[in-house]
């Protein structure tokens, strides 16, 4: 009976239901967007790493995030190659600070990330890169990330432009994507990389300083013992990380150390609070309008438990009513943002479940606040 009453209370007026539902939808979509941006940020920050063809990775032990240049000596990569169990050790060079790219379509200048590696190495798993990387053996050529931001200028292969004042030719495209910190990506050979970023005053080659060491091991079962062994052999200027550790390392930076993770976390909380307030208002009005009826129920012997459970059911129904359209709308908005902003907004199964739980908690919380008024009604007032 309480389910029926809860159901009827909600659905009695279609107009009111529509207003209530849109309130919940608003709050839930707001939360979806905030969490979506946050996850997109975290996902995009580790996207490049996820395409690296390694089981173990070397980075400078003082590195706190990938974006900042903090290289370690190439020597360590060679050393790692000599350890039994390590089949390949490839250096990956990254320049984010000194690289200035001239948009070939508009001639405007922008910062860009340049990934340099030996075209004979299989540093990336991306098939398009594998297919085209040998073209990079030709000096002063680059592959351009076609999911770079528009202002980078996604020119077709064959286009010539300038990178850090040097004439360069686009010989192909690959797909990686921009993130919050990087607007676009280029891939080039280690030799071109050297010519581009060599410090004229430095005695050593730019290639002596590696950003990431990509290691392949012969036995995937023995990754962890090998990791310990490598760490011991290579000393403490490098950190040896497994793939999950490597991804977690970068995620952690964005989640904890950068304000961006915090801002979107806060946005989610705001969405939740707004949702509680909207939901409370809806339930409170609904219950207040029927106060004499509830007092009557108490007068004929229904106890507070019944009323509590009824409001609980009503809030849960409300959360379902609100969640379903909110999920649909968020799906569309995610698609739209992915297309327009080039951010990968993923609607994962776990996000769908987590958001549903948040919505239910939001409604139940407001329900338990709203029910207090009903509980305090005096049954003697109905006569």
């Amino acid at each position: 009976m309480r389910v029926l009453l809860a159901w009827r209370n909600l659905t009695a007026s279609k107009k009111r239901l529509a207003i209530s539902t849109s309130g919940i939808v608003f709050a839930v979509v707001l939360m979806f967007m905030q969490i979506g941006f946050r996850n997109a940020l975290l996902d995009s920050s580790v996207e490049m790493m996820s395409y690296l063809n390694g089981n173990l990775f070397l980075i400078s032990s003082t590195k706190y995030r990938l974006l900042t240049n903090d290289p370690f000596p190439l020597r360590r990569v060679h050393q790692a190659r000599g350890i039994p169990g390590v089949t390949e050790a490839w250096p990956l060079y990254i320049e984010t600070e000194a690289a200035v790219w001239k948009n070939p379509l508009e001639r405007s200048s922008h910062a860009i990330r340049v990934l340099g590696f030996d075209p004979n190495d299989e540093v990336f798993t991306l098939p398009v890169v594998r297919d085209q990387q040998r073209v990079l053996l030709r000096p002063d050529t680059v592959l351009l990330d076609d999911r770079s931001r528009d202002f980078v200028g996604i020119a077709p292969p064959g286009t010539k432009t300038e990178l850090t004042g040097r004439s360069i030719e686009i010989v192909g495209h690959f797909t990686l994507g921009a993130d919050f910190a990087v607007d676009g990506n280029l891939m080039t050979s280690d030799r071109t990389f050297e010519r581009l970023f060599r410090n004229a005053h430095a005695m050593t080659s730019r290639l002596a300083l590696v950003e990431i060491g990509v290691l392949r091991v012969s036995d995937a079962e023995r990754i962890v013992p090998l990791q310990t062994e490598l760490q011991k052999a290579l000393g403490h200027d490098v950190a040896v990380l497994t793939r999950p550790e490597f991804m977690a390392f970068e995620r952690r930076y964005w989640e904890k150390a950068s304000p961006v993770g915090f801002v979107f976390g806060l946005g989610t909380v705001v969405g939740f609070v707004v949702g509680v307030m909207i939901c409370y208002q809806i339930l409170f009005t609904d219950l207040s309008d029927q106060l004499p009826q509830f007092a009557t129920l108490k007068a004929i012997g229904y106890d507070n438990g019944f009323l509590r459970r009824m409001v609980l059911v009503q809030s849960m129904l409300l959360s379902i009513f609100g969640y379903v359209p909110a999920l649909g709308l968020s799906f569309l908005l995610y698609k739209l943002i992915s297309v327009l902003a080039g951010l990968q907004m993923r609607l994962s199964g776990s996000l769908i479940v987590v958001m549903f739980c948040l919505t239910v908690v939001m409604c139940v919380l407001s329900g338990s606040l709203a029910v207090r008024k009903v509980l305090s009604t005096d049954p003697a007032e109905v006569f």
Partner: protein, 189 residues
């Protein structure tokens, strides 16, 4: 405040006087009631006495503000009794807590001046709402509710919502909701 009692027994007034206390459905002795606190404290009931036996129909009259509703809410276990004895269905209500009063209420039928039907529920569902408290079997209950509503001329409107019923029809639905339990206590019908 006058109390007029009608009963199937001959000469009710006399019969009542000799009736044993444990046969009475309502036995109010020396009941006082006050509203307000401190300086605003105002006595509303003064040493009231009321005895009602089984099967009796009691009509209470009195000027507005004389305390009829107050007495009914006390007898109906809707309010805590303050002074005197208020014995209903063989149970002393004075000194009972909210939970125990609630238990007693389940055994009493009420018809409220404001009928207080849920607008979102049909006539049938409104009656069911109160019947369910008394642990009737669902199938019996359904048959019973339909029977009573039909007898009250609401046969064709069992599945109507209160808004679609006339004032009188609503009042009859409200009356039916009170039949889940007996005796009935009614205020200003």
């Amino acid at each position: 405040m006058n109390v007029v009692t009608s009963s199937s027994q001959p000469n009710p007034g006399v019969a009542k006087a000799v009736k044993a206390a444990d046969e009475l459905v309502v036995n109010v002795q020396g009941l006082n009631h006050y509203f307000g606190e401190g300086e605003n404290r105002k006595q509303v009931l003064f040493n009231n006495t009321l005895q009602v036996g089984p099967g009796e129909l009691v009509i209470m009259t009195g000027p507005s503000g004389s305390g009829k509703t107050t007495l009914l809410t006390l007898v109906g276990a809707l309010r805590s009794s303050q002074e005197g004895s208020n014995c209903v269905l063989g149970k002393e209500l004075k000194g009972l807590g909210a939970k125990q009063l609630n238990e007693v209420r389940r055994q009493i039928g009420f018809i409220f001046q404001m009928h207080n039907l849920f607008d979102s529920l049909t006539a049938f569902e409104n009656v069911k709402m109160s019947m369910e408290l008394h642990g009737h079997k669902s199938r019996d209950m359904r048959r019973e509710i339909i029977k009573i509503l039909s007898r009250l001329g609401l046969g064709e409107r069992i599945y109507y919502k209160p808004r679609q019923l006339s004032g009188g029809q609503r009042q009859r639905v409200a009356f039916t909701t009170s039949l889940g339990s007996f005796p009935a206590v009614s205020d200003s019908v």
